[in-house]
């Protein structure tokens, strides 16, 4: 029986996101696999993360990087077998690393047997498992998500001579959640993986489960109802398992997915992410403060997931046009960097390989409220390749060393699932795990130590946040608090040195202890506390009252 605290493990998690295909290839076929991943678990344990989020590894025609699933209860042969997965899972759990996998609930691949059956004839029992229509005019006005490739949310099926609904690519027909059979089938899938030992699911594209005429077909009450029912069953049968929502919406709309603590455990805070990038470019804390002020309170057992980058484009859906234009002009001047209202670049290139800025953003990620997610490769400052199609530029092989295929695979370089990054700045000869491991001052070593520091204090994962708003707008300062534990975090968002006076009246007589060097700073007195920061510098102070 798990304790209450164990049930809330996701609050204290530091999640590392990767696709098994990109990490390590054990059988020299040029594609990463579970055995390879298993061999790298020590590295991940050393890094200090305690949860892994794996992108879809199911059998799939791979026309949407695995999000078009053709079989929910198996493993794509390129990545290994189901047994390989089980072995990996056991090894991860041995190292106290939990595993979160994808559950693409909204749609399947058109190669999935369910769809093959559904389209075969109108009388097929699985016909009603998908959303069909005689015309393409139902659900008018609903927005198209993949703007660059799709013209409509309806696609014509030449076999059954009717239209089917798809919010994503046309080869990903939406499942019909009004059909209890579909819900039951999904539950069976979840059970399958929970029984194997998976610790949680990221439910992909949850806002779009249900369609109704005259609505935006997003975030409908029926969708929440379905989630609630799933959650209830999970809590009863699999306590301690976690559901993470992927809902790219405004905070007020996303927080609905927490319900009263009876829907999702976690959800991504999408709108915060571009604003962290914006704040650094603008050298102004305003974007961050404003979006967090607009973020409603969530139930005690729930948690936001925060992140800097992920496998998708840096989405600019939840920003105003002005903000989007600004982000494009500052971070994606080359139009090749843009896709689907977003920017398909990695963290380090976006920061122009400025180590200080990378550290600043990582520091923000690890000190703001929420469970942080680190995208694979960002801990060593990997680069991207914007000339690969779709969003594959940020999904290149992990760079382990400066040798053959960056240590990713023993296969011929031409056989790799994706070319390596090989330019002089971000290439694997310059940026790789081995060389950074040798230096105590590399980005990797730094990231490790910051994660280690964070892991020592629960205040980061569970504490409240109170913004100090000093008159210098280039400094973002806040206090994290959990019981008696208080952390003062001060970040200089600008490229020039700054002085800031903080009103710390509430913490009078406390002694700030700088957490990376463990040095004492002058005690807080009656006057405003003066700090000076170098460009992009930040402080984590533990406020101790002795």
């Amino acid at each position: 029986m798990l304790s209450q605290d164990e049930n809330l493990w996701y609050k204290d998690a530091i999640i590392y996101q990767l696709h098994v295909r990109t990490f390590c290839d054990s059988n020299a076929d040029g594609i990463g696999d579970f055995r390879g991943l298993t061999s790298k678990l020590d590295y991940l344990q050393e890094l200090g993360i305690n949860a892994l989020w794996l992108l879809p590894f199911y059998p799939s025609p791979l026309r949407d990087d695995g999000y078009d699933i053709a079989d929910y209860t198996s493993v794509h042969p390129s990545y290994g077998s189901l047994q390989d997965f089980k072995d990996f899972l056991a090894a991860a759990h041995d190292r106290r690393i939990r595993v979160i996998t994808e559950m693409v609930v909204n749609h399947t691949s058109d190669q999935h047997p369910w769809f093959q059956e559904a389209r075969s004839s109108r009388e097929n029992p699985k016909r009603d498992w998908y959303v069909w229509s005689e015309t393409d005019t139902r659900y008018q006005g609903v927005r198209i998500i993949f703007l660059d490739t799709e013209m409509s949310n309806w696609a014509w099926d030449p076999i059954s001579k009717s239209y089917y609904w798809h919010r994503f690519f046309n080869h990903q027909p939406d499942l019909n959640y009004d059909n209890p059979a579909v819900r039951e089938a999904m539950w069976e899938v979840m059970k399958f993986w929970f029984d194997i030992g998976v610790d949680g699911f990221r439910l992909d594209a949850v806002p779009y489960l249900i369609e109704r005429d005259g609505t935006s077909c997003e975030n409908l009450p029926e969708t929440h109802d379905i989630i609630r029912k799933f959650r209830k069953r999970i809590d009863e049968a699999y306590p301690g398992k976690m559901l993470l929502a992927e809902a790219n919406q405004w905070p007020a709309d996303v927080s609905a997915y927490f319900g009263n603590g009876d829907e999702f455990h976690m959800a991504f805070h999408f709108p915060l992410m571009p604003r962290m990038f914006m704040a650094v470019k603008l050298e102004d804390r305003k974007p961050i403060i404003e979006i967090l002020e607009q973020t409603p309170q969530i139930p005690e057992t729930c948690q936001w997931c925060i992140f800097l980058r992920n496998h998708d484009e840096l989405t600019l859906e939840m920003v105003t046009d002005v903000e989007r234009d600004y982000m494009y002009d500052e971070y994606a001047v080359d139009k090749a960097m843009r896709i689907n209202l977003g920017i398909r670049r990695r963290l380090a290139p976006m920061m122009e390989n400025d180590r200080r800025r990378v550290e600043l953003l990582t520091g923000l990620l690890l000190s703001m409220p929420g469970t942080p997610i680190i995208y694979y490769g960002d801990e060593i400052g990997m680069g991207d390749n914007i000339y690969l199609g779709d969003r594959n530029g940020v999904r290149t092989p992990m760079q382990w060393n400066g040798g053959w295929n960056a240590g990713f695979s023993a296969a011929d370089p031409e056989r790799l699932y994706s070319p390596l990054i090989s330019n002089a700045v971000y290439g694997y000869q310059a940026i790789n795990v081995d060389s950074q491991r040798r230096s105590a001052h590399s980005l990797l070593s730094w990231t490790k130590s910051v994660i280690q520091t964070r892991n020592q204090f629960r205040v980061f994962s569970r504490g409240s946040i109170e913004f100090l708003n000093p008159s210098n707008h280039r400094v973002l300062a806040y206090v994290r608090r959990l019981g008696d534990e208080k952390m003062l975090i001060v970040n200089n968002l600008s490229s020039s040195a700054q002085a800031v006076e903080l009103n710390l009246q509430m913490y009078k007589r406390h002694i700030p202890i700088e957490m990376f060097g463990r040095n004492l700073f002058p005690r807080i007195g009656d006057l405003p506390y003066l700090l000076t920061l170098g460009p992009y510098q930040f402080y984590w102070f533990r406020l101790r009252r002795i």
């Binding site: 603008l282 804390r285 305003k286 974007p287 105003t320 903000e323 000093p470 707008h473």
Partner: protein, 423 residues
């Protein structure tokens, strides 16, 4: 011993927090609680709409208001919509306030504004008056944009006037400044204008802030500093000039004392520049073409003529010491003429003004008194103008105005001769 700084500690601290800006909008105030909010909203809206990415600050310089002016400024902060999605603006729009402890005047307020512009390294600045009732966001944008984007150093406003509005500017200040300084800037004494950070820094260095002439009307001095320094000037059409509420705004005597006094002082301190120049050049003008609007009832001028006539009589000894004998004689002659046939010729008017300017230079009597002695003569000219143009269209009046300007330019050598004569 170091000179005492005029920047208060609190003001300096606020500037430090802001750091650096691209745009600075200064609002000098004195007991403007009723109108300040409106002005702030217009400025704020302009910055949010037209200068989305620029770093901006709004500075309120208060002359010691006894009403709620400073409170209004403090409380006016960004307003968010009820359930707002996304940011209200990309950047923080800073608000800075300061007070100066001298008697309220535009000059002291401007000193603080240029100091802020210099310390904040602002590229473009504007001064907006809280007393102008019809300021819109586009006004602010039109004053700032030519400085920020086109590289001008001084931008004066252009107003759509009605026929009988702003006659002091149209019949005296503009033609005279055009002839003397060679730049055709129509509104040198407006309440709102734009300028560059570069010009602000230059003005800050000049130690003229204690001069009465600069304190009352610093904007023309700023423009003339720009002209004298070879910086680029321009003007932008804003819209109709709102009429000041009845009973407010300077009366004719005060207006002449401030503007003409200031102008003569500028002539005095910049003589090295203008003595050798002739002709005038147009300046960059932005905005649509516009004319004098035909509305505006000509005011009844009888009293004006009476004041002119009595002024000429009562001030005879004073005028005798200022004007050349034949000019004085001509003026005395027309003062005796029939009111209905009265005509103050353009040539005589120009000659009169130039003789006043030269006498100012030679300090034939106290300078403020000299400027005040001009008031009855201006009234005479005004009366003549109103009589002549009672039924004129805007176009006709503009044409006459151009003739007046050319007369000023034609007689400039006479001014130079009187100015440089031994006293």
């Amino acid at each position: 011993m170091a000179e005492e700084s005029f920047l208060a500690d609190d003001f300096l601290r606020q500037l430090m927090s802001v750091g650096e800006v691209d745009l600075l909008v200064g609002i000098p105030s004195y007991n403007n609680a009723s109108t300040l909010e409106q002005t702030l909203q217009s400025v704020d809206a302009c910055l949010r709409q037209d200068f989305v990415r620029e770093r901006a600050a709004i500075l309120n310089v208060d002359g010691g208001s006894t009403d709620e002016t400073t409170k209004v400024f403090e409380q006016s902060s960004e307003r968010k919509g009820p359930s707002h999605k996304g940011l209200t603006s990309l950047r923080t729009i800073h608000r800075i306030s300061c007070q100066y402890d001298k008697s309220p005047s535009q000059g002291w307020a401007l000193r603080n504004i240029v100091a802020a512009a210099d310390l904040l390294r602002a590229r473009a600045c504007a001064v907006i008056s809280p007393t102008t009732a019809n300021v819109t966001p586009s006004w602010v944008a039109n004053l700032v944009r030519p400085v920020y984007r086109e590289g001008l150093d001084f931008v004066a406003p252009l107003y759509a006037r009605s026929r009988f509005q702003g006659l002091l500017a149209r019949d005296l200040l503009y033609p005279m400044s055009r002839a003397v300084f060679g730049q055709r800037i129509r509104e040198l004494y407006a309440d709102e204008w734009g300028f560059s950070g570069r010009l602000a820094s230059q003005c800050l260095e000049r130690n003229v802030w204690h001069e009465e002439a600069v304190r009352a009307r610093p904007q023309a001095w700023m423009a003339i500093t720009a002209i004298g320094g070879g910086l680029k000037c321009g003007q932008y059409f804003l819209g109709p000039k709102g009429a000041a509420p009845a009973g407010t705004g300077p009366d004719i005597v005060e207006a002449i004392r401030q503007t003409v006094g200031n102008f003569f002082w500028c002539m005095e301190t910049n003589q090295a520049y203008w003595l050798s120049r002739s002709n005038s050049q147009p300046v960059s003008t932005f905005g649509p073409d516009h004319e004098l609007s035909p509305d505006g009832i000509p005011p009844s001028p009888e009293k004006i003529f009476e004041l002119f006539r009595s002024g000429v009589t009562e001030l005879e000894p004073i005028l005798a010491s200022i004007l050349a004998p034949d000019t004085h004689a001509q003026i005395k002659a027309i003062a005796l003429s029939d009111r209905t046939k009265f005509h103050f010729a353009v040539e005589l008017w120009v000659k009169t003004l130039y003789e006043f300017a030269a006498s100012y230079h030679h300090t034939v009597l106290n300078r403020d008194h000299l400027v005040q002695a001009l008031v009855p003569l201006y009234r005479g000219r005004l009366y003549s103008f109103l009589l002549e143009h009672a039924n004129s269209s805007g176009e006709e009046m503009e044409a006459q105005s151009e003739i007046l300007c050319q007369e000023f330019e034609r007689q400039k050598p006479y001014l130079v001769e009187r100015w440089t004569a031994k006293s």
